[in-house]
Symmetry: C2
Subunit: 237 residues, 2 copies
């Protein structure tokens, strides 16, 4: 199986065989973690840098009244908190949404990459900037788009992100999220997610069944969502 980190970083830099070898060395040791586990909690001091090899992880916050706000998804190939050691404590939590395979990297491993492998360093920077761009685009969704377009937009984003790590094919991918998780992500209620999803299926926009999302007509869904892949910067290099 190919290394999802390599697949992703190829979009951010022109890697050499040496670079790829170094990246492959990274993922020799990984942990298996079941679904629904906290990786780190709010206020914890950050320690490791994490790389997702398999599964879905989310960043989230819990509000006073118990509401959960999901702030980001991490999918295979995603690295979290490259330089988070600079901050004393986490301002949010992270948890697995599915069973996951995760690599925990010590800070000096990152230091080695950024100082001795300039193309990898460049790609890691690119990846950090894309993460911020995704946050901005989510902000636009929550601020301006109605519920159905929010869902559609998220589905389009995940399609592209999962395609880069060869988890999605042309028009479908495994989406092991509950409607509750989608609701907490999009800022709408679970009931409303359910209804919007039904409407979208009725309209032939998507089919979401058995934890797999199928998009009959990708262009149509992008059109519906007002999706412009620009912000993912997949032509980064």
């Amino acid at each position: 199986m190919s290394n999802p980190l390599t697949l992703k970083l190829e979009h951010g830099s022109k890697l050499t065989p040496g670079d790829r070898q170094r990246l492959d060395a990274l993922i020799q040791t990984s942990c298996r973690i079941e679904a629904g586990q906290d990786l780190i909690r709010e206020n914890d001091p950050p320690e490791h840098v994490r790389l997702i090899l398999e599964g879905f992880v989310c960043r989230y916050k819990i509000l006073e009244d118990g509401r959960r706000s999901i702030i980001a998804y991490l999918v295979p190939g995603d690295i979290c908190d490259l330089h988070v050691a600079i901050l004393r404590r986490m301002d949010h939590a992270m948890a697995t949404l599915t069973p996951c395979t995760i690599v925990f990297m010590a800070p000096d491993v990152i230091a080695d990459l950024t100082t001795n492998y300039p193309r990898i360093a460049h790609a890691l920077w690119w990846s950090t900037l894309v993460d911020a761009a995704i946050l901005r685009e989510w902000l636009v969704s929550l601020g301006q788009r109605p519920a159905d377009q929010r869902l559609a937009h998220l589905f389009c984003e995940l399609l592209l992100r999962l395609q880069t790590v060869r988890i999605a094919d042309e028009n479908s991918y495994p989406l092991p999220l509950t409607q509750e998780a989608l609701a907490d992500t999009l800022g709408i209620s679970t009931v409303h997610v359910n209804r919007v999803l039904q409407q979208m299926r009725e309209d032939g926009l998507v089919v979401f069944r058995d934890h797999r999302l199928i998009i009959p007509d990708v262009e149509q869904l992008k059109e519906f969502a007002g999706f412009d892949s620009n912000y993912l910067h997949l032509d980064g290099m």
Copy 2:
């Protein structure tokens, strides 16, 4: 007048007199730009790194239907797009909301800072991480908080951010934003901003008049907004 960049970065690193001197040298040459001007547009190739000395700048996106979504505010001391040259083109635009004084820095200036001034480099990293944390907190606001709490939360955030650069005093600061700008930021309509503001004034939470925000009881407003300053990481160093 003290250098807002220095004031800010003191929160992210223990600076030496030499560091401060270097930072002061940065701001010797600045540009004056009037209100309502685009600094850069979506799809433009990024060129300069910008540092705000005076005024309010915003990041924004325009949707197909003409809606504007304001994604971030930059206030004095804020630096934008430290390493954005890695990306080919902007995925959003930036514009002045008020008359501004801005420093445009060439990439090699940044390179000098990050390679020869480790404490400044550390502080710049800290600042980048805080920017991302602010995006996440805004996402929580848009996803989970009702309109009045969104407004209150934003007011609390700006109070702290502007206090670090000595623009805000204990409980008030200049806020040169129109209700329309607030609406585009918080994802609510202008009319609703107006009404919520009136209600908040009636409740004694804030007074917003003549482009100045006064908070009679800061603790009360924080309480109302569910504001936890943790995410600003002002105790970074």
